[in-house]
Each structure stands twice: as C-alpha cells, then as structure tokens.
C-alpha cells in the first residue's frame, strides 16, 4: 500500500491539473498555469519527491494502471458535453497508441521510422474507403487498418533491413514524401481534397449521435473516447508484455549490438521485421480510428512534419518508456491547442522542447528503467 501512495497522489494531482488546464480559456491564466505546472515539477524533483513516484509506478504498475484508466474516465466525464475537449482527449489517446508503435520500432529494436504519420494516414484512408464502399463492421475495419499499415510497411522492409541508422531514416523520409504525393495525385482516393470518412457504427449504434441517458447529455465524442481508451489499454498491455519478455530482450540486444546478438543466435531479420510490422500495426489502428473520429482524411494531415511530432513525443517522453510516451503526448497535443499564441508556432515549440530535452535530459522526461520482467518479483 505504501508504495502505491506516491504514484496515486501524483496521478490525482496530474488529473486535477489537467482538468483545470482544459477548463480555463483565458490565455494569461493558461500561461500562468503552465508556469506553475513546470515550477511544481521542478520543485518536486528538487525535493526528491519524484523518485518515490517513479518507484511506485515501477512496483505497482497494475494498480496504478487501473487508477490511470479511472483518471482518464474522470477527465472525460468532467467534459462530457464538451466536443472540443473530448476530441482533444481522443487525439491524445490515439497519438499515444501510435507513439507506442513507434516505440516498439525505434525504442526497442532501434529501427528508425520517420514515416509514422504516413502509416497513421494509411489507417485513416483504409477507414475512409472501407466505410464508404463496404459493409465491413467498423471494429473489423480498425483491425484491417492496422494490417494495411503493416502490409504497406512491408514495402519498406528491404531497404530498412539493408541500411542502418541514418540511412534507414532517410529511406523512411522518402517513403513519407512518396506516399503524400501518391495520395495527392490519386483521384480515386480524393486527391488533395481527400475523402469523407463515415463515422463509426458498432452493432447499429452510430457514434455520430449524442448520447442521452435520463436527462444526462453526453457528447458523441464520448463513444470515440471510450473506444480510443480501450485501444490504448490494449496497446499498452501489449507493448508492456513485449518489453518484459524474451522478445523485448531480443529487440534491445539487436539495437545495442547487432554483431554480438548474432553471435548468440539471434535472427536479426526476424526480430527487426517483427518489431517494424508490430509497430506499424499499432500506428495503423490508431490512424484508422482517428480517421473516423475526425471524419475526413486528406494528404496534408499525414506529412513528414506530423511524423516528426510522433518522434518528438517519443524523445520527449523517454525512449522505451510507455508512461513517458503517455505524459509527453498530453504535453505535445494539449499545450498548443490551449495556448493559441503557440498554435502557429507549434513546430517551433516542439523543436525547442526536443532540443532542451536532448541537452538537459537526454533520456527524456521519464527515462526507461532497467527491465524487470515481473514488477515486484523477488527471487
């Protein structure tokens, strides 16, 4: 119980802070709030209060994970009528899923992918086409979107396997540009204007209608929020189990020293491919749902710059740490939306943030701890 407490308190404070931040509209107040937030974290760090928080998340992740889900639901219920905030929360959840996918590729296997947004877009376009022209149940469309991203990602396998480091990165950048151009000139996929995406419909229940339960009115985004949250939980558990298994170890081993890993029987190709496809699958699923949430897709939403957002979330949060990814997504998605001053300069903000992190905290806000296969396990 004692070890849960610091984590639970931190979670509660963060939730309250997030609600206030999302609620406030006045720009000066928001600025002040952000200042207070940063100062609070710095002071807590200085007083050594963050270490116990980290420990309790490390040891009692099961309980704190459940609490985090409750926290997310609390925030969503608070804003149950507010379309804008709920849309923002969906974006946060789905970007987290996508960055978790990127984390499997880059954070674990060391395979750089600067085309994250392209695979996100492939998912969204899959949703647009399938929801329009077929009667495939939309939950299955989500899966197909993920599979499509993984499948099209196979085009990149050969170059990604044959090149290393920066060269592999350049290959993915080229792919991002190619895909955007392809979408722009392809009339079937709507060209530069893009396509409408029909909203989600599960078992006859359309996600586009507001929900009314006994006088309580919920925004239609609530359904999307719930779906996104479920997907995030699934992705989080999957990535966590992956890391805490021999497979996670394999991926680390090949990232850190391919030659040595090969000398201990590790099949480099097999595990790089596994990580790349699994990562793209997660990114694709997130993109598919995001397409349905937003309601339309266009090439300009899935550019190289958007891929960089995913990469900066990963760098900011702490490469290899799913909790770090979640925290960083909240910061990267919500701050520019709330601070209208920043809106146009958001890429500047990301660049500055990433540089600050790389300079002062190269392992990210929440550095990845040494692997423990079963938290709390003692020999």
């Amino acid at each position: 119980m004692e070890s849960i407490l610091p984590g639970a308190v931190a979670l509660a404070l963060a939730t309250a802070y997030l609600i206030v931040l999302l609620r406030v509209e006045n720009q000066n107040t928001i600025l002040a709030l952000l200042g207070v937030g940063i100062a609070a974290v710095l002071v807590a760090n200085w007083l050594g209060w963050l270490a116990p928080v980290g420990r309790s998340f490390g040891e009692r992740e099961d309980v704190l994970g459940l609490l985090a889900i409750v926290a997310a639901i609390v925030v969503a219920s608070y804003f149950h009528e507010d379309h804008f905030v709920l849309l923002l929360l969906c974006t946060v959840l789905l970007y987290t899923v996508a960055t978790l996918g990127l984390n499997v590729q880059f954070g674990y296997a060391g395979v750089l992918n600067f085309a994250g947004a392209s695979f996100f877009g492939i998912g969204a376009y899959t949703a647009a086409v399938l929801n329009q022209h077929t009667a495939i149940p939309h939950l299955i469309v989500l899966l197909i979107g993920g599979l499509m991203a993984a499948l099209i990602g196979c085009l990149l396998l050969l170059p990604v396997l044959r090149t290393r480091g920066h060269y592999a990165a350049v290959v993915t950048i080229a792919f991002a540009l190619l895909l955007k151009t392809f979408l722009e000139v392809n009339d079937v996929l709507g060209g530069p204007q893009g396509l409408q995406v029909r909203s989600m419909n599960v078992l006859g229940w359309s996600f586009n209608n507001n929900i009314e339960i006994g006088g309580l009115r919920l925004s239609f985004y609530t359904s999307y929020f719930a779906t996104s949250l479920l997907i995030l939980i699934g992705a989080f558990v999957l990535v966590r189990r992956l890391e805490r298994s021999w497979i996670g170890l394999n991926l680390d081993a090949l990232r850190l020293d391919e030659t040595a890993a090969g000398c201990f029987g590790l099949n480099i190709v097999r595990w790089k491919v596994t990580a790349f496809l699994l990562g793209n699958f997660l990114i694709g699923i997130a993109g598919t749902l995001q397409g349905m949430v937003v309601g339309f897709v266009q090439p300009n939403n899935y550019t190289f710059a958007d891929s960089l957002i995913f990469v900066s979330i990963l760098l900011l949060g702490g490469i290899g740490n799913p909790w770090g990814v979640a925290v960083a997504t909240v910061i990267v998605v919500i701050v520019p939306e709330k601070l209208q001053v920043i809106q146009e300069y958001r890429f500047l903000l990301y660049a500055a943030l990433v540089m600050m992190v790389l300079l002062f905290r190269p392992e990210g806000l929440l550095p990845r701890p040494v692997r423990s296969y079963f938290p709390g396990w003692r020999p």
């Binding site: 298994s245 850190l256 030659t259 040494v370 020999p379």
Partner: protein, 268 residues
C-alpha cells in the same frame, strides 16, 4: 593447480579442426593456410603478436567473416560457411576482445542474451502465456544466478543492476557467464585479461579453471597476451605469426622455441 600435459590429447578426435584456413583482407593475409586442431576437453592457448590473426581466427570460426579457402569442422560437421547464429546453435560461444555487453541492460538481461537458444522465442508464449513464461523466467533466473555465484557471490545479488556501472572484471565475468549459460561445447575467450590489473587477471583465471572443472568436457580456446595466464591455464599452445602457425606444444616447449622468441621479441 597443475594440469596434466596434453601430449595424448591428439589421440582423440578433435572437436574443432581448421584445415588450410585462409582469410584475406585486401592484400593482407590475416590467416594463411592455417591447420589447427583442438582436442575435446583441452584448454588451448592461442598466442602471437598483435595482428597475427588470433581474433580473425575466432571471427572466421564464429561466422562473422567468411573464410576465403580451407575449412573449419566442429564435432565432425563442416561449419566453414555457417552463419554466426548456426555456429552458436552448434555449441560454440565466445567472448569479445573489447567487452561487448549491452551496457544499459541488467546483468540478468545480458546473460539471457547468451541463453537465446534455450529460451522459448515464440510470440504467443511470450505475450499471451505469461504463466508459462514466468516459469521459464524463474528457472532461467536461478540458473543464471547460480552461474554468477561461481564467479563472484556478491555479484549474484545484483542481477537487476545495469552493467554500465560495473568494473571491468565484473563485466568480463558477466561476458563469460553469457557465453556459458547456453552450455556450449566450445568456449572461445578473446583476451579475457584485456583492460584488467594483474590481480584481477589472476582472479579471473581461477574462475575460468573452476568453471572448467565444473563443466566436464568443456573445451576452451583462449587468445591471450598475458603469458602468466597462458602458462597457468592452458594444456597446449599454438603460436601464430602473420597468420601462420609457427609453433605448437606445451607452454614450456613453445617458450623455448627460437622462432617464437623472435616473433615476440625480435631477433636477439
């Protein structure tokens, strides 16, 4: 500890044999028609001046480099063109001259990298069947811990510490544990004493001899510059110079060999 001289070792079928093995790098013959046999259960010292082809020999045997001509057999099977993965699966494991541990990972993780072939690598097992995974994990943990205990009991209590914070001798020990955990038939040690003090080297040698006594039938080839290590631990030595074998025999014999003295010390 005295070891029995290995005069009779050649009576047994060799566990590792190189025939006319050659490896070129551009115009340089790193290994030049090398014939070399390692008998079952012996500790063979592979010595020679810098650049004489010792590490290249290891790299060709373990499949990191392909041989240009000649052959390598292991336990009777031809492994000349085998991949590093296949060589490992056949039962050869090695350490590296410059320690190649994965520094951010824990001691346990590093040792488990060496245990690859004995761990269940299927996705379904790893991701879904967590109970079965936990059983395999627990037994592997106890095995790894017992192995580390042979080398250094206090270190066995720090299995989940990152390797990056450990001194060189502990890193070497973990590297050797990583190579031994899969129960190989042949262990290739590439300069285990590099970067260590004299005392540390002595300790490590004791560890290695102890391991050899605990794992009957384990064959070891050591590349080493530290002659004390070679003298104390090997049954037999092979001396290389410019990729060729210039002498072979017990340490006393090769130490008295004029060609060896010339190679090491220059003409006197």
């Amino acid at each position: 500890m005295t070891r029995k001289p290995a005069e009779d070792s050649t009576k047994f079928a060799p566990v590792l044999a190189a025939r006319g093995l050659t490896k070129r790098f551009g115009g340089v013959l790193a290994i030049d028609h090398l014939d070399l046999e390692v008998a079952q259960g012996e500790i063979l010292g592979l010595i020679g001046p810098n650049g004489s082809g010792k590490t290249t020999f290891f790299n060709v045997v373990t499949g990191i480099y392909g041989a240009d001509s000649g052959s390598v057999t292991f336990g009777g099977a031809d492994i000349t063109q085998a991949s590093p993965q296949a060589v490992y699966h056949a039962g050869i494991s090695r350490t590296f001259q410059r320690s190649r541990l994965s520094l951010p990972l824990s001691i346990f993780d590093n040792i488990m990298i060496g245990n690859h072939k004995r761990l269940n690598q299927r996705l379904w097992f790893n991701l879904i069947r967590r109970d079965a995974f936990k059983r395999e994990y627990e037994s592997s943990f106890h095995e790894a811990r017992a192995l580390v205990e042979v080398f250094d009991p206090p270190l066995a209590n720090r299995m989940f510490e990152a390797v990056v914070g450990l001194p060189m001798i502990d890193r070497r020990r973990i590297e050797i544990c990583r190579a031994l955990i899969s129960q190989p038939k042949l262990l290739l040690l590439d300069e285990p004493s590099a970067g260590m003090t004299h005392d540390e080297t002595t300790q490590l040698m004791n560890d290695i001899l102890e391991v050899r006594d605990r794992i009957p039938g384990l064959t070891i080839v050591i590349v080493e510059h530290e002659m004390g290590v070679i003298e104390r631990s090997t049954d037999r030595c092979v001396v290389l110079n410019f990729g060729r074998k210039i002498s072979e025999g017990t340490f006393t014999k090769i130490a008295a060999d004029r060609q060896v003295q010339e190679a090491y010390l220059g003409l006197q």
